[in-house]
């Protein structure tokens, strides 16, 4: 068990653009503390001179011919968006006046 406080939980939620209620923050603090306590075991592993993981056979990524591929139309893109205005995706106000 590792200590993760409700306040830390709320900070994580803010970083992840989640808003938590008080009871949720309490429950998550306890559960995440338990999980973090478990993953602390990795500190016991000797990783000196060990590189970070890379697949055995990296995939070759050759250059592709420079030709246009298929793409979505404006109507298709707009049809995905929950809120649109004219031919635009509508976004709530993000800057103070």
């Amino acid at each position: 068990m590792s200590d993760v406080t409700e306040q830390e939980c709320e900070e994580l939620a803010a970083l992840a653009r989640l808003s938590l209620t008080g009871p949720q923050a309490r429950a998550f603090a306890k559960q995440i503390g338990q999980i973090v306590g478990y993953i602390e075991q990795l500190a016991e592993v000797d990783v000196r001179d060990v590189p970070e993981y890379a697949p055995d056979a990296p995939v070759a990524t050759p250059l592709r011919p420079d030709i246009p591929g298929s793409r979505l139309t404006r109507a298709q893109v707009l049809a995905q968006a929950p809120v649109t205005r004219g031919e635009h995706v509508a976004v709530p106000k993000f800057k103070e006046d």
Partner: protein
């Protein structure tokens, strides 16, 4: 009806291609079967009966015109709801994608269509494929067709339950830490996770991009081989997809296993949480392979004990990153608020369930400044050690065997309040994802019915080196030829 629903996918395709049976009759028979029993299981997130009938009629028209619709001609399939399907709502088990109708087909849907398969709809799943029980869902949890108050496993639980219950001859699932193999084990069917990169990830909604692979769930090994043959192959739209030849996987099932060496790490099998019936079934499966000509050899996987911790650092970090795209602006559901930040937060708060939030927060924790080297960087190094352990073990064996799941199953709700207990149930499956290796779960017996446990299936898992799917399939087919576990019909859907 039983002539159709008990037939293998390959038998049905052969009948359609030869004109012996129409795709329309097959589709109608499976739709009737679904009408009769599907409501007991909640295996579908959405059925698409009309589209299936039209598609089957189109297959029949191709046959009538003298064209070959392909190796899965007229075979019904269920698609886990994280496969992007043009014109069909695709929610990935989440409220945040409620109402999303994709404008394109993913690689899997395209390849199955080119092979002549007929989709009956989208299978229920744990939200964003995060879970081992199919309980992380805004909908009804999927039921295990062997005992309706037990979980079917997860996260491809809807796919596994549908195949076991003969609602479809095969289904597609995805596997990030065991999500094809563990539900296959709990439902008594075959589940194959291919080598990382063997199958394209284009159009498969991302969870942990360095771990995710799509694969088949079937009732027998040769059907899994046939479906893998359709799915596998290079796709320039996924830069991690391997440009390697695709062998004849069905033919690989006929290869001899005489002299094949099966590695077993006995310290892994002595795992504390391993159920006695699962251990006994595992030893029986080893004996089956030994009798078929294989040798059992001891191996060691020194870092096996750290696999779960490594996985839950890396998978949650990748998930936190992948799921940051769900902002409620460009697609999916939006909770509109006066400002942008409040809209993001309200959309994600309302749209994600608790397990997804927990993993996003854990991923954010391990990635944030100050913790990155301690958790994420270190886990990436331990992942290297785990992959090296497998490489070293494969110097002395052709495949590695273990149980798929430490227990046969658990009751719905039993582990829901304890995420850590749920994570520990992934102990045997995670290694294949961390090392990018192919692995298969095949039926390997049943637990004994007791006062507290019903008779539930038990899975037997085999791992092979990278691109060693032919080896897995040969061993699995030999095991299947000597056993009859895969022929049993789940008790709760027999009529």
């Amino acid at each position: 009806m039983s002539q159709v629903i008990d037939a293998t996918a390959r038998e049905l395709a052969a009948q359609v291609r030869s004109g012996a049976r129409s795709a329309a009759e097959i589709a109608a028979t499976f739709l009737e079967r679904n009408d009769a029993v599907a409501s007991r299981l909640h295996a579908w997130s959405r059925r698409d009966d009309d589209r299936a009938r039209h598609r089957a009629a189109a297959i029949d028209a191709e046959v009538a015109a003298g064209r070959d619709p392909g190796p899965l001609a007229g075979v019904p399939v269920g698609l886990k709801d994280n496969f992007v399907t043009a014109g069909v709502e695709t929610c990935c088990g989440s409220r945040i994608l409620a109402g999303w109708i994709p404008p394109y087909d993913g690689a899997h849907v395209q390849r199955l269509a080119e092979a002549g398969a007929v989709s009956l709809g989208k299978c229920a799943m744990d939200e964003f494929a995060m879970g081992s029980s199919n309980e992380n869902t805004p909908d009804e949890p999927v039921r295990n067709p062997w005992a309706l108050d037990f979980v079917p496993g997860g996260s491809s639980g809807g796919s596994a339950a549908a195949v076991a219950a003969r609602l479809v001859p095969f289904a597609l699932g995805t596997d990030t830490g065991g999500s094809i193999r563990q539900p296959a084990s709990m439902c008594g069917i075959v589940g194959l996770k291919p080598t990382y990169g063997r199958v394209s990830r284009y159009g498969m909604i991302a969870f942990g991009s360095s771990l995710d692979q799509a694969g088949p769930l079937t009732r027998n090994v040769r059907d899994a081989a046939a479906v893998l043959g359709v799915l596998a192959g290079h796709d320039p739209r996924d830069s991690t997809c391997l440009d390697e030849p695709v062998p004849d996987y069905v033919a690989a099932c006929d290869a001899t296993i005489a002299g094949a060496r099966i590695g077993v790490d006995r310290s892994v099998i002595d795992h504390d949480g391993l159920d006695d019936d699962v251990r006994a079934a595992f030893e029986t499966s080893l004996a089956v392979l030994r009798d078929a000509g294989a040798q059992i050899v001891d191996i060691t996987l020194p870092h096996f004990a750290h696999a779960i911790a490594t996985y839950y650092v890396l998978a949650t970090a990748e998930a936190a990153s992948n799921l940051s795209r769900y902002d409620g602006l460009r697609y999916g559901a939006q909770q509109t608020r006066p400002g942008l930040r409040q809209t993001y937060e309200a959309t994600r708060e309302h749209g994600f369930g608790d397990e997804v939030k927990r993993r996003i927060m854990l991923g954010t924790f391990v990635l944030r400044e100050g913790s990155f080297a301690r958790y994420y960087g270190r886990a990436q190094k331990v992942r290297t050690l785990i992959a090296r352990d497998y490489a070293a073990a494969f110097a002395s064996c052709d495949a590695i065997a273990s149980p798929t799941s430490p227990v046969a199953g658990w009751r719905i709700g039993e582990k829901q309040a304890d995420p850590m207990a749920m994570y520990l149930s992934d102990v045997f499956t995670i290694g294949a994802n961390l090392a990018g290796l192919p692995a298969i779960s095949i039926p390997g017996g049943f637990c004994r019915a007791t006062e507290t446990m019903p008779r539930l299936p038990i899975g037997f898992q085999l791992l092979a080196p990278r691109l060693g799917e032919p080896t897995l399939l040969a061993l699995a087919a030999a095991h299947e030829a000597a056993t009859a576990w895969h022929e049993q019909m789940p008790t709760q859907v027999q009529s």
